[in-house]
């Protein structure tokens, strides 16, 4: 089934809703078309694609909720899924945290859909990969990469009169270029809503350049260093703050945002005053949905302003209990930056380390948001404003909260992709002092 237009989706959802006999009913419809190509050792290893449509029906009797899903769309199937959700609701234990569905909402017009991405052909995918493989051939490097494009339609309707619809497109690309002797490795990643912005050749050249330049890495002592984190490296650390903004966890005392005596850090200065983080569904460089999966509008929200925690995310249940606005979690976060390019940040650094990418990030202590992980695919020593030589990879133990208190300088914002979560962000490269590297790694 192709993706439905707004009118088609509305008609389908109305029909499903007409079958409902429950106190309340809410229906979510998602259609996704994805395509991907994976390559390694300079050859395509797998490629595939799938088109799926899923209808989720949530039926409630009082505080008893049943959820059923289906991917068949004939009338009999549609009625069956509604009956099934109702049966499940009747059997379910009462959930004291159930909150009645939302009434009609006003949403801004989303700007996530780019026709060129939705119209991508297998040939375009193959050509994009061929350009990357050509770079490998020209530079005598070994390429391993992955490209995945997605076109999505989301719609929802409920018995309280709410209706929402949007479409979006996206493409994520990542490339690792290794030297033939396995002594050097470089990486680049790109994410866009618009496929025509993706330049696989340029990204592959950057990865190959880093791979070739990192081949003669020297070991230097672990310890505290000034680092310049490229956006892809910073993203995997900072997203642990974004994912940890839940008010309930903070109120319950089990978050880095909790304080002794049941208080939280909301309204308090947490990091350097130059740190500003927000989400904005209408940002043209990082457009996201203007509504959340439960129908709440997604608006521009400031999370950290001048280093102060301005807002936390709430489930509707917790917001009702606390008597505050139920702000949903963001789909993409933007960190404000400065005006300098990465090269200018390097130029202004007396001694430091340039980090291309961080890898295998895992929480060590949720109390302080201490994380561990390693540098990977291009780590270089900087002296007197110049990259002097490649260095062996390090393991770090660092908290993004402590790190943002040791901020030296921010560069120009770029769109990047987290290798851990696949989420896209707008994040600047950043210079940080006293970043803690705790041991050396022989990994290339």
């Amino acid at each position: 089934m192709p993706l439905l237009t707004q009118d088609e989706a509305q008609a389908l959802l109305k029909k499903v809703l007409s079958y409902s006999k429950a106190d309340e009913c809410e229906i979510n419809l998602t259609g996704t078309i994805t395509g991907n190509i994976r390559y390694a050792r300079n050859s395509v290893s797998t490629s595939g694609g799938i088109s799926t449509n899923t209808l989720v029906v949530s039926s409630a009797y009082g505080k008893k909720l049943g959820v059923a899903t289906i991917n068949e769309f004939d009338d009999a199937s549609l009625e069956k899924v509604v009956r099934r959700a109702e049966e499940l609701a009747k059997l379910a234990p009462e959930n004291p945290e159930f909150v009645s569905f939302l009434g009609p909402q006003k949403y801004a017009e989303p700007v996530m859909f780019v026709p060129a991405t939705a119209a991508i052909t297998p040939k375009q995918r193959a050509d994009a990969v061929a350009q990357s493989l050509q770079v490998a051939k020209d530079t005598k490097t070994v390429a391993a990469g992955f490209m995945e494009d997605t076109t999505t339609m989301n719609a929802m309707m409920n018995s309280k009169g709410l209706f929402a619809y949007n479409t979006s497109t996206g493409v994520n690309f990542s490339i690792t270029m290794r030297t033939e002797d396995g002594k050097g490795s470089g990486y680049a990643t790109r994410g866009y809503n618009d496929f025509t912005k993706l330049d696989t050749k340029k990204a592959s050249q950057i990865a190959a350049d880093k791979g070739l330049k990192s081949a003669t890495a020297r070991a230097i002592e672990p310890g505290k260093y000034t680092v310049i984190l490229e956006p892809a490296a910073a993203a995997v650390l900072l997203e642990n703050i974004f994912f940890g903004l839940d008010a309930r966890q903070a109120d319950e005392g089990r978050s880095f945002l909790s304080q002794p005596g049941g208080k939280t850090r909301l309204g308090e200065k947490l990091v350097d005053e130059r740190v500003n983080m927000y989400s904005d569904p209408l940002n043209p460089e990082l457009p996201t949905s203007t509504w959340a999966g439960d129908g709440r509008p997604q608006e521009k929200v400031s999370w950290i302003e001048k280093g102060v925690i301005k807002n936390l995310t709430y489930s509707r249940y917790w917001a009702e209990k606390k008597g505050v606005k139920a702000i949903p979690g963001p789909d993409g976060v933007i960190m404000e930056g400065g005006t300098k390019s990465l090269e200018e940040l390097i130029k202004g650094t007396k001694k430091g380390i340039l980090v291309t990418r961080l890898w295998y990030i895992r929480p060590v202590d949720p109390q302080t948001l201490l994380l561990t992980g390693l540098t990977r695919d291009g780590t270089f020593y900087i002296e007197n404003g110049e990259i002097k030589f490649p260095i062996k990879n390090f393991r770090f133990n660092e908290s993004p909260v402590i790190m943002l208190n040791n901020l030296e300088e921010l560069g120009k914002v770029e769109r990047t992709v987290s290798v851990e979560s696949n989420v896209n962000y707008l994040i600047p490269p950043m210079k940080i002092r006293d970043f803690t590297f705790s041991s050396l790694s022989d990994a290339v």
Binding site: N36, R38, A40, R41, S43, V44, T46, S47, G48, I50, T52, T54, V56, V67, I70, N71, R84, E87, L91, A92, E97, P122, L133, G145, F146, R178, G182, R248, E252, R254, F256, S258, P260, G261, L270, S315, G329, W359, R362, V364, D365, P366, T368, L369, T372, L374, N393, R395, N397, S399, V401, I402, V419, E420, S421, S438, S439, S441, D442, A443
Partner: protein, 546 residues
Amino acid sequence: MKRRDFIQLAGMGAGALMLPVSSLANTITAEELLVPGLDVSQKKRLADVGLNTARSNGATYADVRIGRYLNQFVITRENKVQSVRNTESYGVGIRVIANGTWGFAATNEVTPDGIKKATERAVTIAKANSKFQKEPVKLAAEKGYGEVSWKTPIQKNGFEVPIKEKADLLLNANAKAMEKGANFINSIMFLVNEQKYFASTEGSYIDQDIHRTWPNFQVTMIDKASGQFKTRSAFSAPVGMGYEYLDGKAQDKIQGPGGITLYNKSYDIVEDATFAAEQAKQMISAKSVEPGKYDLVLEPSHLWLTIHESVGHPLELDRVLGYEANYAGTSFATLDKLQSKTFQYGSKAVNFVADKVQPGSLGAVGYDDEGVKTKQWDLVKDGILVNYQAIRDQVHILGQGESHGCCYSQSWRDVQFQRMANVSLQPGKTQLTPDQMIAGVEKGIYIVKDGSFSIDQQRYNFQFGGVLFFEIKNGKIAGMLKDVAYQSNTQEFWNSCAQVCDERDYRMNGAFNDGKGQPAQSNAVSHGSATARFNGVNVINTGRTL
């Protein structure tokens, strides 16, 4: 292990419990979980449509996997049932070789026409990709097994146990933890049933019924005055067993060092939740560790994850060859190290065996997802690297003629590829108990249950935390420690292995969500060991203040 699912779930408010959720699965009723799928003769007829279509379109090999994947989750917190979900994912995946190149396609239309179309698509993809292929795919020989079947030998089908009974068990465990002063507890029962039918052009028609069970919880204790909080996770293991794992038989309870209770082939969740609350309280007031070198005594509920990351992954042949270079990474354990026959992976006490057959393990199946009969094989013998894990299209690179039988796909819609088998440290041959082992340690730490984990992309440098840490002073447990993590290098670490307890102490643990591939797929895998001692390992202090 994979993290993406965890992040998505944490966002959904399920706390820190990790579980994979397939976005493509349909929700069904508990009764529908018990409805039998197609009978074998119907599956054979459908599979033959795919095999014949592949042949007539010029494929030289084809396999058809008809899969019905059932999950049940019962999720609770404190005195509430938060969610009960039953899901079903049903469809067929067809893999072919045409022009010497793999092609794959999947469909949820499990009809002759749906299978025919998907097979044609798989052949088209194979032919299109063959222009990028440098060498044709070479498959190790495998005989056709005819019509055969295999079932996880369960005693009690968890899907037949009423949901109320499962929810009550979790709520009872929650209540016990709360009575002991816990501030919060999140608990979950997670059941899996894979009904898989495999047919290939080599004459195999294999019907398998696979069960897995995982009860889990997280108890959180908060010290209001200081704001400190600690979480103690369940001492359960995810298992390839039925609901009998929840029987909590007395014979499966082990009194471990430091006064702790550990579990072997069955688990008492209510008792463990009680202990968890008591221990979480002690974890807050424990002494912060002094960094330095310690002899580590690692309990099987902890050591499994170190084995998984530092032995299981680097010995996957596709990683060694570079197929995972862009994501999971490559491996330090390069082919020349195997060929030298002298690479000292560990000390003489270190023997690693891979298998897909251990009863009760997550990896146990009769046949893998490309129709290879499963077995056990050596990876490291007396400390020397002797083999990898490889499947039909790569084992020839090792000069071996037989696949190891560790090919797996997480569902009908994903292409199968090499996945980790169970990889286990063999118990020591000399009689030795954990208490006797500890008695020989002057300055050490006894670590129980897996915690934080991270390893580099070639599997050299790693860092592991844990849940409970006990200081060992002059052969005796001297109280609890906190803020402990150890860092080492794989080869150095396994060469520092001085002793492994005997087979009486051998137990398995594992994970449902081992991640690999792009798009990423989950694999369930177990790792067995007895308690083992590692001399002079670097321990760091992870305590910080904001």
